[in-house]
């Protein structure tokens, strides 16, 4: 197992190298010029060129790529063109809000979606099942930003229970932190809950048809034990896989959610950097997201062994 983990971690190196090459090359050929954005609407061509030179954007592709890779290998992701802050500092400032949002969404989604899916499978064909499936369709269909606006309208403007926007750091207290994240987590969690609930239901339906479940019933095992101890554990592998794959959904959804609720996280940092063509920041954030995604996949692979002892690495 240990050797497998080491092999998988080492395997991330070529993956990250390919990501780095793609990110840098795509940005190089993509239209946009940070020098022109900085210089402003009334700038003369000479002004734009001077700024471009001062930013080093006039240098050849290979020189810039080589320098960037060398700096990355030395732990330096570069400096933002616009803020002049190191990219690592900007990422550090933004990690907590995004991590908070994703963790809370994950907890919320799993704790709601798995029981929903289990109950829907158990009550297969009844109105409960149809309600759960209806919710799943709704969760997939309604965009995150619409859910966000509706929640903000009801709970912040009409009921005045929660703030419309913003983020309070965890160090300021758990409840202020939670107060700002409840609505965004629900908005972001909708699609995730729908996805997990559907997969849980489908997998549970399959497992509940198995002989050993019939045997357990015949032995007089209680319904709750059958569902949560016998069936759910055997259905866990596809569910965990979907939770892992859904991390990409969460990362994408966080971009929208952070904009709607004005949360200063990595999603907004990415959008702002793309609109301004702040290349070092875009490159740094995309690399980070890729790395996180690779690690999540590794974690999911390792979790398989907990749920299915037949799996060995």
């Amino acid at each position: 197992m240990f050797a497998y983990i080491i092999r998988r971690i080492l395997a991330t190196i070529p993956v990250m190298a390919v990501v780095a090459l793609f990110v840098f090359s795509l940005l190089y050929i993509a239209p946009g010029d940070p020098a022109a954005v900085i210089a402003g609407d009334q700038a003369t061509p000479a002004d734009v060129e001077r700024i471009r030179q001062s930013l080093g954007l006039d240098r050849p592709y290979l020189v810039r790529f080589g320098e960037w890779v060398w700096n990355i290998l030395n732990g330096d992701m570069g400096v933002s063109i616009f803020t002049n802050l190191p990219v690592t500092t900007m990422i550090k400032q933004r990690v907590e809000p995004t991590l908070s949002l994703m963790v809370l969404t994950l907890i919320l989604a799993v704790s709601i979606a798995v029981p929903m899916g289990v109950v829907a499978a158990w009550k297969h064909g009844t109105w409960i099942d149809r309600c759960v499936m209806g919710f799943a369709v709704l969760g997939f269909s309604v965009p995150v930003f619409v859910v966000g606006y509706v929640l903000a309208y009801i709970f912040a403007l009409e009921l005045d229970w929660l703030p419309v926007q913003g983020y309070t750091a965890f160090k300021e207290g758990f409840f202020p932190w939670l107060e700002n994240l409840v609505l965004p987590a629900i908005a972001l969690g909708g699609v995730y809950i729908a996805l997990i609930a559907r997969i849980t239901r489908a997998t549970m339906l399959e497992v509940l048809q198995q002989d050993y479940i019939r045997t357990a019933r015949a032995k007089g095992v209680g319904q709750r034990s059958i569902l949560f101890l016998h069936a759910l554990k055997n259905a866990a592998v596809p569910i965990v896989t979907v939770i892992g794959i859904g991390m990409a959904l969460l990362i994408g959804g966080a971009v929208v959610t952070e904009s709607v609720f004005a949360i200063p996280g990595l999603g907004r940092l990415t959008v702002d950097a793309i609109l301004r063509r702040d290349y070092p920041v875009i490159q740094g954030v995309v690399l980070l997201f890729s790395f996180v995604y690779v690690l999540v996949n590794l974690l999911i692979d390792l979790l398989y062994t907990l749920f299915d002892p037949r799996i060995r690495y």
Partner: protein
């Protein structure tokens, strides 16, 4: 009904108490994030607004657009105007406690001049600028430059802010990394979170000018808040909701559909930000067909309806836009109606079509560059698309975000090689107040802003403008400029709109112009 906070009240009581807040805090949502602290390096409006909080200027502009002394005590002219001495007021101090010296001003002016359109003209007149002592700045000029004091005091970006010599010695094409000035607010570096939050606190050591001028950037700059916070909220609907729920005090700029919602809230005031409009323009590429032909440029005038363009941005409320707009910002001293006839009266697509044929338009491709992420330019692009379609020209539409557009418009080649033909822009009203600040009027060919018009008569008039001291003479030249511009069309004026701002009704005495944080107070 469960009240706000009570839902988490029990838990909140257990939480650590929040840091004590100063008594008078203004929470403001800027039009976009404050990404850079240097208002010389980049000329964004938010950087300028931040600049006016942190730094002061030698001269300011009052409500009638007259230049008034700020940091300057006054100035004298000798040697037929070729030696101008500006004297600093005594007792000015930077936020770090250092005295403001003439040497600081000299370094700041030199840096600003390399980035400012008017400053670059000044450099052409300048023999030397030096500090005679700690309080006297001496300009030695090749010949009299009547616009000197105006150039130092106009709020057109980049503004001539006076930084410490240490900061001002930074290359003007590199940003300064600190915001330490002598203005009415101290920037709180430790609290700045790029992309989300910035804060300033009132500078108790600020030395207001004894001049009682009121208005834009002139006068004593009395601050009524201990602290100003900028909360970046990128989504207009969210910012509006935050304003309605009382989480913020002032929302700088919003689209019209949101303003309609806010106008219905009794606790809020929706108002025009500035009495000046944002002039809008249709800029054409003078280097490539078909708009290298002045007759084809003029052919469009029959059909251009300024009202179509500006109402697309701010809606149909007449107080929010102006039509019949020429090449200078309406309401400023040089604005005039010389030669504007072709932009007024009944509009005719058919007349434009005929004029295009007569001018020799032969179906050459017209590539229209437009944005999708900026309200004003996006709305104008949509109107322009409709406009050119009605003219039955060979239209090619290229919409992108602003970041891509500003790169693409630098392409001087033909459409077939990625070039462009036409695009619409909006500028700050202060940019179009005189030929010195008005870079869109520059017509020196390849050195001009994208569009690259080459109109020697306009350039000659521009240089004449810098030599005349009297307003009446300047106004006469402005009329001549407009007459030539309407004939040669470096761009087509598309009218002007006023941006809208919304704040709590309890905020009063806001200085109209841009986001200014002196004068305004809470009742």
């Amino acid at each position: 009904m469960i009240a706000r906070r009570s839902i988490f009240a029990a838990g909140a009581a257990l939480a650590l108490p929040a840091a004590a807040q100063p008594a008078r805090v203004m929470k403001f949502v800027p039009q976009t994030d404050l990404t850079t602290l240097d208002p010389i390096w980049t000329i964004s409006n938010v950087a300028r607004n931040h600049g006016y909080m942190v730094w002061d200027t030698l001269y300011g502009t009052d409500a009638q657009y007259r230049i008034r002394p700020q940091m300057a005590e006054g100035h004298t002219e000798e040697d037929d105007g070729r030696r101008v001495t500006v004297t600093l007021r005594a007792g000015l101090k930077f936020h770090d406690g250092e005295a403001v010296r003439a040497q600081d001003a000299v370094a700041s002016i030199k840096r600003w001049a390399r980035r400012s359109p008017t400053g670059q003209v000044l450099l052409g007149y300048l023999e030397e600028i030096s500090a005679a002592d700690d309080r006297r700045i001496v300009f030695r000029l090749k010949r009299r430059f009547p616009q000197l004091i105006g150039a130092l005091g106009l709020p057109s970006s980049p503004v001539c802010f006076i930084m410490s010599e240490r900061l001002a010695n930074t290359d003007p094409f590199q940003p300064v990394r600190e915001a330490v000035g002598s203005g009415p607010f101290k920037f709180m570096h430790g609290e700045h979170r790029s992309g989300s939050f910035a804060a300033w606190e009132r500078y108790p050591g600020y030395s207001p000018t004894p001049d009682n001028a009121t208005g834009l950037t002139a006068g004593p700059k009395v601050v009524h808040f201990d602290r100003v916070e900028w909360h970046t909220i990128p989504d207009a609907a969210t910012a509006s909701a935050a304003l309605m729920s009382g989480e913020i005090d002032w929302f700088e700029q919003m689209p019209p559909e949101v303003s309609t919602l806010l106008e219905r809230q009794r606790q809020l005031v929706v108002d025009v930000m500035d009495t000046l409009v944002f002039p809008c323009s249709m800029r054409m590429n003078h280097l490539q067909p078909p708009f290298d032909n002045p007759a084809i440029r003029r052919a469009l005038l029959h059909a251009v309806n300024q009202e179509d363009f500006v109402t697309a941005i701010v809606g149909p409320t007449p107080a929010r836009f102006e039509t019949g707009v020429g090449f200078f910002t309406p309401g400023t001293p040089l604005a005039n109606d010389e030669a504007l006839g072709p932009l007024k009266g009944p509009r005719s697509i058919e007349a434009s079509k005929r004029a295009l044929r007569d001018a020799g338009y032969n179906g050459e491709p017209i590539r229209l560059l437009g944005t999708t992420d900026i309200i004003s330019t996006s709305a104008m692009a949509q109107v322009a698309i409709d406009f050119f379609r009605k003219l039955d020209v060979n239209l090619d539409i290229a919409l992108s975000d602003w970041g891509a557009l500003v790169q693409r418009r630098n392409n001087r080649g033909p459409v077939a090689q990625g070039g462009w033909s036409v695009s619409c822009f909006a500028n700050s009203g202060m940019d179009f107040v005189n030929p010195g600040t008005h870079n869109s009027l520059r017509s020196d060919g390849q050195a001009a802003t994208p569009g690259w018009p080459s109109i020697p008569a306009l350039e000659a008039l521009r240089m004449q403008f810098f030599d005349v001291p009297e307003l009446s003479q300047q106004q006469a030249i402005a009329r001549d400029i407009q007459r030539v511009a309407m004939q040669e069309l470096p761009y087509i004026p598309l009218g002007g709109y006023r941006s809208l701002t919304a704040h709590k009704r309890s905020l009063v005495d806001r200085v109209k112009g841009f986001a200014i944080f002196w004068g305004i107070k809470r009742t």
